[in-house]
Symmetry: C2
Subunit: 322 residues, 2 copies
């Protein structure tokens, strides 16, 4: 989409995505915890995308992109550069459609991540761990294969797909006052804004971000995109910067962006595992961490909390490392 | 119940339990995993009692006992000796009814377990870590308080309560061929037998047990109760022996008892966490471990798997200890 004029996905795109991806994704359950409700004073409704296909909400956007391709384009496959949940999700979706999925990953990426992509049917091309090498290798792969580039978040098809999550949540929980989700590149938050600004504009949208990767928060306050170079946080899904499309939604529809420290994120993660008995990523704990430290903004309200994913290295849990 | 003639709970007791405990327990969800279905060749339906109140199915039986007490008896409270989920569950249920719960625990029990019982409102009396001390201290507590003794499993009220789990499962999943649950003292298996032998006698009931604590399996083969002294297994909820009431159900209604090694249990536990994104106890992994090694008995069948609990020490996961 790099050189095309920016197309902003709308409600029709989300509704079409919903129909398109329905056979390929779960309608994930919403869990509640009386313990966490008492602790926060709010009524929290956890939308469990950690139970989603491929372990994360990203499969919604990836499936929408893959199943929206023309047969001709589909035959050439899909491609992306990512070492995270988007790579898994795109591999999964391409596999369901029976088309190739090319993933460019740094050769230094953890072996477990490479194996997971391969297990979902993705074909990995390694690059050096630098932006220039990644772009060069990716351009070559695209030229050789003609595969369609599906960006992890700055793509209208992906945002429309992510928007299906809050469309479900709204049907599962009546009378929501707010929805909160983590923000990295802004794909989930943009989809949430797309859906709720159209279908339930009274619902506030909050984004939650690690203090140590708070570029979206600073962008929000400054009124323009600020990109950090290489932030370090336990919430490793949230290191990437906003881009033009996601900035559109963030700047127009988000009520506020709240931040939490590394320790607050780890504590909220452990608390959720211990009390809700679910495996979720550190990134998914950032919303609860910010709710706990901004009690007055959420107490007495009905709040949807998007648990974005559950792909965790079970041999290295962050609360064991300090 | 020690000296009373053995009362065997029946379908009416289970149905009454269901009504009695409904306000106090969750109707837990049933999750599926296409990955685990492919791996086993079976269709598995996981009944997630790890999401249950107090983190385990034990709250069903404990609530049935507590809420079935006369007002007069209730005023004197409930009592048990346990350092596991039953102690938590009885404390929770007694707290809901607003009555005291006395728990006798060895002074050597982990501090975290003591704190959990206290957090649920239980009152701990410590004993020495020996059977004689436990019995002596428990008798004294009972005499002083007049509290009603609720045995962790060899109690008709408890078995009737545990039977509500498979009553729900049967409503949630059509056409089950079999149900499998872990077996320690046999409370869950007995409740399952009670319910299914009456409501769905075509459904086979399998029990799953650690090889290293296989007293129920050996009892089943021998035709009488064999109690081990102090078995050692990672599945620490499954160390206790059968008693007369649970032996009644096991010997009359169980199709077979299957066993798994420590490593097989740990592997199945880790696999479930990784793939299903749920936190569950090692005990809860024994059924999957036995399904994986007895593929031919389950392939092509619709199998309910009871995930019994999720109260895990998150700082000490068994796959990290080897």
């Amino acid at each position: 989409m790099k050189d095309a004029p920016m197309y902003i996905p709308n409600l029709d795109d989300m509704l079409a995505a919903r129909v398109r991806i329905a056979p390929h994704v779960h309608r994930t359950p919403v869990l509640t915890s009386s313990f966490l409700n008492e602790l926060t004073g709010a009524e929290l409704f956890f939308k469990c995308e950690n139970f989603q296909k491929a372990g994360a909400f990203k499969v919604r956007g990836a499936s929408n992109a893959v199943f929206g391709l023309s047969d001709e384009q589909a035959a050439k496959g899909a491609a992306t550069h990512s070492s995270g949940n988007h790579a898994l999700s795109l591999s999964y979706a391409a596999g369901r459609r029976g088309i190739p999925c090319h993933v460019v990953m740094p050769r230094t990426a953890p072996q477990a991540k490479k194996e997971a992509v391969i297990a979902y049917g993705g074909k990995i091309t390694e690059c050096e761990p630098s932006t220039s090498s990644r772009e060069e290798v990716f351009a070559r792969v695209q030229e050789e294969t003609g595969a369609d580039f599906v960006h992890p978040y700055n793509d209208p098809r992906v945002i429309a797909g992510q928007g299906t999550c809050s469309a479900e949540l709204r049907e599962q929980v009546e009378g929501l006052d707010a929805v909160i989700a983590p923000i990295g590149g802004g794909g989930m938050i943009s989809g949430t804004c797309l859906t709720l600004s159209n279908l339930a504009p009274e619902v506030e949208v909050f984004a939650a971000e690690p203090e140590q990767a708070d570029d979206a928060c600073r962008s929000f306050r400054a009124g323009h995109i600020i990109a950090d170079d290489a932030p370090v946080t336990v919430a490793d899904g949230l290191k990437v910067p906003l881009k033009d499309l996601t900035w559109h939604f963030v700047s127009h529809h988000v009520t506020d962006i709240l931040t939490a420290s590394e320790q607050e994120i780890i504590d909220a993660m452990r608390l959720t595992w211990a009390r809700m008995k679910i495996v979720m990523e550190a990134s998914s704990a950032v919303p609860l961490a910010t709710i706990l430290k901004n009690r007055e903004r959420f107490a007495g309200r009905r709040v949807g909390v998007i648990i974005t994913g559950g792909n965790v290295d079970l041999d290295r849990l962050p609360w064991m490392e300090s």
